[in-house]
């Protein structure tokens, strides 16, 4: 059975749903109940533009047990066109070609397996545009 811990994040991981503060316009990913900037509790749901640029990155060589089968893999912080920043793996890329500032796009990918039954868990990874 799919766990609540996983399924409640599906709108963000599958569809990039974020909360835009109705008062100050700040966008939060994932959505929040209160805006840290203006303290408003009114938000509208928006879907993020999946394109953005790389702000910083690393290559994970030593991973936790759960991810060790994937290592080495690239992880970076991407700033999307909406201004939202998020942490994501960078897939299908030659490590030597990764550069801060490069243009990336989020795509739907398998991220990890959950629990002893090995349920597939999905989400976004970035690829080079």
């Amino acid at each position: 059975m799919i766990s609540p811990k996983y399924f409640r994040e599906i709108p963000q991981r599958y569809r990039l749903e974020a909360g835009k503060c109705s008062k100050c316009g700040m966008i939060y990913f994932p959505p929040r109940l209160v805006c840290p900037e203006c303290k408003s509790k009114q938000f509208e749901l928006i879907k993020l533009n999946p394109e953005g640029k790389l702000l910083t990155y690393t290559i994970i060589r030593v991973a936790s047990d759960k991810f060790s089968i994937q290592a080495p893999y690239a992880v970076g912080i991407v700033e999307l066109k909406d201004g939202v920043k998020l942490t994501t793996q960078i897939a299908d890329v030659d490590f030597d070609k990764i550069k801060i500032g490069m243009k990336l796009k989020l795509v739907f990918r398998k991220i990890q397996d959950e629990g002893a039954a090995g349920l597939h868990c999905y989400g976004y990874k970035a690829i080079v545009i």
Binding site: T56, T58, S64, I100
Partner: protein
């Protein structure tokens, strides 16, 4: 608020303590601190631990440690702020004494990391589980992204970053409680195994067991039972930042550190120039560079050149940093670290630091942070 003093300290050896349980480790440190302070009782105690549940399967540490320390039925509170748990335990003890609620309080910290847990996974719980860790990022990975951003923005070099590890190992040689008492070279750091590019194994603090404890009391009592110099707490300040590194405006400045530092200097009535030495949270080499800038010791971007030039060494340092060997060489039993920093500060201020002694040490600072800087505790101590 009452004036508060630190009147006794005690810690275990840091390292792989296979024959000692988490209880043994904490109680050993606490007994040493009580004996060192020459007090016949404590009114209350705090235990800082990041993740005893994941590391050894034991929660409820306040009660566990009060029981094994033989101090029931006094209040015993476990506090947690990831890697800043020890610093937080110290601050809570400080507040309890400063408020007049208690007279003599023990602040301790402990971690037992070598009992077989997946340490990488346990440490990663200090980051955002759903939006950082879910993607496969690790703690070395988060600091590696800070390092890459710092190198990109300020042209900080890999050699400068490695200089932190070399300096701290050199200091640790003279610390009998340090986990690694051996010098290392720049070449050795730069040829060690890559963990998360650009950080290598010798850029990372180790997995450690260890405990540390200090006794705090009101200045009135300290004057009666302690010989000069008395170590007074000039400031104990805490600040928070976003849990996820990616949510911040900058990845090269830690806002929890700058905020806590500015407030601490204000409370103490001093500036960064008045600090004679500092123990900072070098969980990874790059962290010491970033923090040395954010504490105001160096301009932004100058932390790398400063450590390479020796500005933070004991011998010629403008501001000696991590005279104890830091987390890198002394070891990083997570919950104990913030308390061990205070102990180094105490030993320096009381002139008991031996070959590590900073000349004319009168005011010292400790900086302890959780996660990638989502929490930070800064203490300023003074010998009077």
């Amino acid at each position: 608020m009452k004036d508060v003093a630190v009147i006794g300290v005690g810690m275990t050896q840091f390292g792989e303590l296979w024959n000692k349980s988490i209880k043994d480790i904490f109680v050993e440190a606490a007994l040493k601190a009580i004996e060192n302070a020459k007090v016949d009782h404590i009114d209350s105690m705090y235990v800082g631990s990041m993740s005893s549940g994941l590391f050894v399967g034991q929660e409820h540490l306040g009660a566990v440690m009060a029981d094994y320390l033989g101090v029931n039925p006094i209040p015993a509170t476990r506090v947690e702020s990831a890697c800043a748990s020890g610093g937080l335990a110290f601050r809570q003890a400080y507040l309890e004494v400063a408020s007049g609620c208690s007279e003599i309080v023990l602040a301790g910290g402990v971690e037992k990391m070598t009992d077989g847990a997946d340490v990488t996974e346990a440490l990663a719980t200090a980051a955002d589980q759903e939006y950082e860790v879910y993607q496969g990022v690790t703690f070395p990975g988060l600091y590696a992204m800070i390092a890459n951003a710092h190198m990109h923005q300020y042209k900080t070099t890999r050699k400068q970053i490695a200089s932190v590890a070399v300096k701290n190992h050199k200091n640790g040689v003279n610390n009998p409680n340090a986990q690694f008492r051996s010098e290392i070279s720049i070449d050795k750091v730069l040829s060690s195994t890559l963990v998360a590019d650009p950080l290598r194994l010798l850029d990372c603090s180790p997995v450690s067991d260890g405990g540390a404890a200090v006794i705090l009391c009101s200045m009135d009592i300290a004057k009666k039972i302690t010989k000069s110099p008395i170590i007074r707490i000039k400031a104990s300040v805490q600040a928070s930042d976003t849990i996820a590194l990616h949510s911040r405006k900058s990845f090269t400045t830690l806002n929890s550190v700058t905020t806590a530092a500015q407030k601490a200097y204000k409370v103490a009535g001093i500036t960064s120039k008045d600090i004679n030495f500092a123990e900072v949270h070098d969980c990874f080499t790059i962290a010491e560079i970033v923090v040395s800038e954010d504490l105001g010791f160096f301009e932004k971007g100058c932390g790398g050149p400063a450590v390479e030039e020796g500005s933070t060494s004991i011998e010629q340092g403008k501001i000696p940093i991590n005279t104890s060997g830091g987390l890198k060489s002394k070891g990083h039993p997570v919950g104990a670290t913030g308390i061990a920093q205070v102990i180094e500060c105490y030993e320096q201020l009381t002139g008991q630091a031996g070959k590590r002694q900073v000349k004319n040490a009168r005011i010292g600072l400790t900086q302890n942070m959780g996660g990638s800087g989502a929490s930070c505790v800064i203490n300023i101590l003074e010998a009077i």
